[in-house]
């Protein structure tokens, strides 16, 4: 299959190259994101809503700030430093703390008033319904 694509002249079609490039990027980004981004997130889309799932272990609910403006969702979080007594000896310190922010642009405008967010076991779920005005409308054709 791949070989056939390689020998055919259409392989050098820029569109196909772009598809290949995108797939490679996706493959690499999901590995690299684990080290650099916080919180990590998955985005799901359907016709009338979007769902964002974010991993926020150890973040207090009071420290989560969600903002929705038109198409963009901003998640601001803060993770506090571990409370330790003096004279603590550290063997390993991998968990990051501080302030974190992520901005996600969704493919449609959001109905800001009916956004739902819940958090269980350090997993934040944000349901973002599509704005009524942005929903596709079926236009009926009248026969003259």
């Amino acid at each position: 299959m791949l070989f056939q694509e390689l020998v055919s002249p259409s392989f050098f079609d820029s569109r196909q190259m772009n598809v290949l490039q995108n797939r490679l990027n996706n493959l690499l980004s999901s590995v690299a994101a684990r080290d650099t981004e916080f919180p990590l997130l998955n985005t799901y889309i359907s016709e009338d809503k979007a769902l964002v799932v974010a991993e926020i272990p150890g973040v207090d609910l009071d420290d989560i700030d969600l903002q929705v403006v038109n198409k963009t969702l901003t998640i601001n979080t803060q993770r506090n430093k571990e409370d330790v007594s003096e004279g603590t000896h550290w063997y390993r310190r991998e968990r990051a703390y501080g302030q974190f922010s992520r901005v996600i642009e969704l493919p449609f405008a959001i109905d800001v008033d009916s956004v739902l967010a819940s958090c269980t076991q350090g997993v934040l779920k944000i349901e973002l319904p599509r704005a009524q005005a942005d929903l596709p409308k079926k236009i009926s054709i009248q026969s003259a």
Partner: protein, 131 residues
Amino acid sequence: MNNAVLERKNDELKTCEPQVNARVFVPQADVYESGDKIFVVADMPGVSEESLDIVLEKNVLTIEGKTLTPEIEEMKLVHCEIPPGNYRRVFMLSEEVDQDAIEATIKNGVLKLVLPKPAKAKARKINVVAQ
């Protein structure tokens, strides 16, 4: 013929450990010692107290957490940074730990282990008597 092969395969599967085809993540962890206790703090979002397994064998500490893959129907995954997978990490402890007194709590997806050191492993000051 085909059925016999299938039957044999089914029998083999029953006797094997259940196999899961999923990624295994290494949870990020802090390890520190304070007073006479060792603390292990690990990020394991999506793991509940029921799906968590902690085993200490001699001085090898294994933490294993299973995540439940959320069932999201009729929605398309358009951006993925969290592929389905479970957590597993193994620590070697240098000192003997009081195995019966280990405390584990999980809150907001963060596992906290408290491993107390028994009296005999604590540092002792030896007095030198002048003769």
